[in-house]
Symmetry: C2
Subunit: 449 residues, 2 copies
Amino acid sequence: MRDAINGYIDEHLDDYIDELSELLKIPTVSAQKRGIPETVEMVKAMLEKRGLTVQIYETAGNPVVVGRGSGKSDKTLMYYNHYDVQPAEPLELWTSPPFEPTIRDGKLYARGAGDDKGEFVSRLAALDAVLAANDGELPCNVIFVVEGEEEIGSPNLAPFVIDNADELACDACIWEFGGVDDKGHPTGYLGLRGALMVELFVKTMSQDAHSGNAHALPNAAWRLVRVLSSLKDEEEHILIEGFYDGIMTPSELDKELFEKLPDTESVVKERYDLKHFLNNLSGEGLKEAVFNPTCNIQGITTGYQAPGGKTVIPADASVKIDFRLVPGQSVDDIEQKLRAHLEKHGFGDVEVVRHGGIAPFKQDADNPFIQLVIDTAEEAFGKEMMIDPLIGGSGPIALFGETLDIPIGFAGVNYPDGKFHAPDENVVIDIFAMGCKHNAYILNRFAEA
Amino acid sequence: MRDAINGYIDEHLDDYIDELSELLKIPTVSAQKRGIPETVEMVKAMLEKRGLTVQIYETAGNPVVVGRGSGKSDKTLMYYNHYDVQPAEPLELWTSPPFEPTIRDGKLYARGAGDDKGEFVSRLAALDAVLAANDGELPCNVIFVVEGEEEIGSPNLAPFVIDNADELACDACIWEFGGVDDKGHPTGYLGLRGALMVELFVKTMSQDAHSGNAHALPNAAWRLVRVLSSLKDEEEHILIEGFYDGIMTPSELDKELFEKLPDTESVVKERYDLKHFLNNLSGEGLKEAVFNPTCNIQGITTGYQAPGGKTVIPADASVKIDFRLVPGQSVDDIEQKLRAHLEKHGFGDVEVVRHGGIAPFKQDADNPFIQLVIDTAEEAFGKEMMIDPLIGGSGPIALFGETLDIPIGFAGVNYPDGKFHAPDENVVIDIFAMGCKHNAYILNRFAEA
């Protein structure tokens, strides 16, 4: 079966590069509201070409294209992808124009080649290969969910998933991206931290005052400093009551996976010109520290910021904060605890505005679907899959993983020099082929997993 | 003698309003580099008309006009004024054009009518009246120092005074402004706080990083919060070692003067919508708190400040601070102590940039010259002079008071609705006349003080 799949992919590889190139010619830049209807049409046609039934879900923003296909088993595998791309600017830094797909040195260059049109097409190729290897019948059901706002933060994805949770019911999901690391190892993830983004507003007076009155009038910037000081101590320990309640710690298996991950310590130190990491973290401790939730200041706005000085007492001050949450924490609970903390410490007047919330997500490496993804990755790429137990960042992955209660696997076509979001975005065609095969192996064996 | 002076001023009042109006027709806006040479010429001519010897001191900016006259006594009285004015914008808010002096309801309206051309002319009127009352001979020497950059912060005044301290030697100085309060009481000041303006720069990395790494990478904003927390406690007590060493506290006489000052507590509370002042200050405690030096945050700049959030760890953070200094403190000493504090608390990497320094200045109310100013004020205005022992703000007054080691008195023509720096700036002609008389009384009796 592997031979049939490999043969099919190798034989038709040029066709998929052509099909991908057609899709890449449309500048589907969601941030610039370009190319959306044409792309929706083309994605729909591409799914229908594979015999899938396509439904367009309108949202408050760009539509979500959903394609469904039935198979032998009653198990269902979902693919989450997006048809929109990042803006191509600065255009002058592209070697060939971003929306004129060009092959050089075995790589296909275009905006979206890797993120995410290339990933989407690799899954269609996998579907074709599996259909061909199974006499035109899918071994399981599939659902393709292709949204059009990922590059602007998926503002309408949550209501779409929540409102249509029944129709989206499935047994597992392949995430929108995947690929290999510097050494050619396929990479996967067991989870992402969540995030609570808030802005705190302090107001001490109705207007700014002259700083000659600083002995008598309350300064909002100083009050903000005190609010912030109450939130975290000098060892980075967050002082909000109950903040760490019930948090997950790395399991023995997580620790083993961390150990296998390449050591990036010196690279990161050099990139940021660091003498040492926070709290002198290093080695395994540094890797495992991603299990610590954080309270990060994104920015502070208060008072006079132009050159020189201005003798002013600011009446207003604000801070943008993101709390990165680990499994065991919830966005709403942490926001509530933050509010209770402010109240308790005499800062009940501080206004709290939530700018966003993403739940943390973590799955076990010994989940059978994850094991299937890991096993087939090694078959497709010829190297062991490196699994990161938890990524420090956040994403809408919990939206699927939690809402639909499914494991989520990574199987993709990208590599570290793929220049996501940058000029000269590209995929290596050989890696693209391996990603197609990986996806096909998973689909082919999913019914048994 | 008082009658002769009064008679002279009353008789020639219209002439002085005319002379002032001619000066007001020139738009001497230093911030806009307008009208400087013409004004210098006119000021020179006005001084020479009184028989003074005029010297133009070139500076790195606008020239300083100095006029000298000899008198019977070898004592010398200085007048410090400035010939530049604030910009007149917004022009549409003026009832009559700012550089077309207009009399309405007993007030002369024009940019500079009060600040400071009106003050300057009132002193020329005083000089004329004293000359007339003394058969054309001055009872003492006079020096007029008329600079042209006060409205842009007197950036070149310090080198001028310091370099020419010998030539500027004198026994006392009448400051550039003075006048009456809401109830018609003439007002004076015994001192101003000094100021040290600094900016602190924190850098933790060579570039911003994604906040998914906040468990490992150092955040400059958080480090700045810790730097600031180390500087002051929650009761506004400044924690820099030796910060309060040798500071002056209000004398018994100062306390008596504070008691006489009108109570502005409820007005200020209403203006800034305050529930209470810092540390619940009120009454005499609030007035006397101006003797507390301060550490004021003018503004903080760090990270992302546009709408919404951005998942960034700022690599840079900075804060602008002004320390208001009281008599007994010095700018250089406090800067040194700040640097030592940062070093001692592990913040030796924080860059400190000084944006400015002004020494504090305080004189005793029982100084004979100050007593002369106080006594003659009551004679001229018919009401007791209100003396503020120390103003919370800062100014170049110490530059004269300290460098030349002289007392500084206030005798002027302004009133609370004079709209300094605003549209419809004006002087009340009756108050102008009283200010002329006050200045004449001082000059007339200065030799004996």
